[in-house]
Symmetry: C2
Subunit: 108 residues, 2 copies
Amino acid sequence: MPRPSRSAPLVHPERDQIDLLDVLHALSDSTRMTIVQTLAANPEQACGTFPVQVAPSTLTHHFRVLREAGVIRQREEGNRRWSSLRTDDLNDRYPGLLDRILQASTAP
Amino acid sequence: MPRPSRSAPLVHPERDQIDLLDVLHALSDSTRMTIVQTLAANPEQACGTFPVQVAPSTLTHHFRVLREAGVIRQREEGNRRWSSLRTDDLNDRYPGLLDRILQASTAP
DNA sequence: CTCCTTATTCGACGTTCGTAGTACATCGAA
DNA sequence: TTCGATGTACTACGAACGTCGAATAAGGAG
């Protein structure tokens, strides 16, 4: 099936359904960590504007992993898909976790 | 090869060599998370005394993943292998990370 | 010494993962 | 309308993962 656009809405877990192990797994990949770091600096960003060197289909896969883990939220606008960190939801469910991980990701 | 005991020492990464993505990956498995939670409550514990329902060889595998990620330290004493959290090393390299993850792991 | 406990290595199995190529649908501009 | 840009779905493949059983080795108790 091609891109469903308006027919099939994007799947996002509820705040209370976010699973810690899924979050940790989602963040344990270098490409996805780069995506999250980029989103931490830019509140909202289109898919194709991330500094990663992977094929577009691979990028789609990583965005889905992050989205289904509850780390990011995606919304469609025209032809683009905008991604943003679910900072509030994550801070509410796992206080301070995201900040610590992002801080740790900058260690040498 | 059977257990090398004294010949091949256990492999532990140096404090500065601990990689965040390896840590997150190590903690993204439920069995290993249970191990870490148990070690957080008990300072040192023998391998066979953890509340997990897996085969001994599987347990050995999980301990190796945690050890090579730098999450735990293992030392041999007689016939037993004692495991402990590398709390100081982790706190020094990634301040607060372990505490946040452990705190998050208790969320309903 | 013999036996049991502890924990390992090895090999095997299914599953999941990261990656890419191809085809395709949508949008916007020329 | 045509065309390019954007991003996805599907498919496939090799690698890594979680799991286990069997064989093995070392230590401790009898």
